[in-house]
Point group: C2
Chain length 115, copies 2
């Protein structure tokens, strides 16, 4: 009974990825799992969105990656934030907050009075 798949608004994925990586080095596959778990299934990131996003962020110099072994003995690409990525996260998180506050104002408009 899928609790309604909620497509992530464009641009938001980058922010969420940066946030998860900020908590400590993780590999891509784990990022998607983390996002789904923490959001209780609301945020679901298809691999076709995830990996391009990671490459994008790496190309922009916000992420750096190293191949390492996971606990289960498999090779995986572990990402970490660059200094630039750290700043970007800060900026984007603030932008996001300002934006949802603004949208809350709009969605909170009561439809009564003189139209």
């Amino acid at each position: 009974m899928s609790p309604s798949k909620s497509d992530l608004p464009q641009g938001t994925l980058d922010l969420l990825i940066l946030k998860v990586i900020a908590l400590g080095p993780v590999h891509g596959y784990a990022i998607a799992q983390r996002l789904e778990q923490v959001s209780r299934g609301v945020v679901q990131v298809p691999e076709g969105s995830l990996y391009p996003a990671l490459h994008r962020l790496e190309n922009r110099g916000l992420l750096a990656a190293d191949w390492k072994e996971t606990e289960t003995g498999r090779e995986a690409k572990f990402y970490r934030l660059t200094r630039k990525g750290s700043q970007q996260l800060k900026t984007e998180a603030a932008d996001w907050q300002r934006l949802i506050d603004a949208i809350s104002l709009i969605l909170g408009m009561a439809d009564r009075g003189a139209q």
Copy 2:
């Protein structure tokens, strides 16, 4: 001194438009103004985004329009919600809330200890 232009995440514009129209019939130009005013300048909708969005919503049967005169005696296209549009607004607003709650959980993750 532009208070940092916040590009609206894709998909969000439709929701905001539906909300403004739900408050009473308005024409396109006024919708953009209303959004900017209520959001205190955070949400800015360029006409190149606004009108295509309105046409999109109309084509999907969520909006209906009539040409009328404004208070200032000019012809303008006044939009109103169809029944379907009203339902869509309800759904999308709920989806939006669920989503930002989920994202808040993610952004609120503290980077200490065992996750």
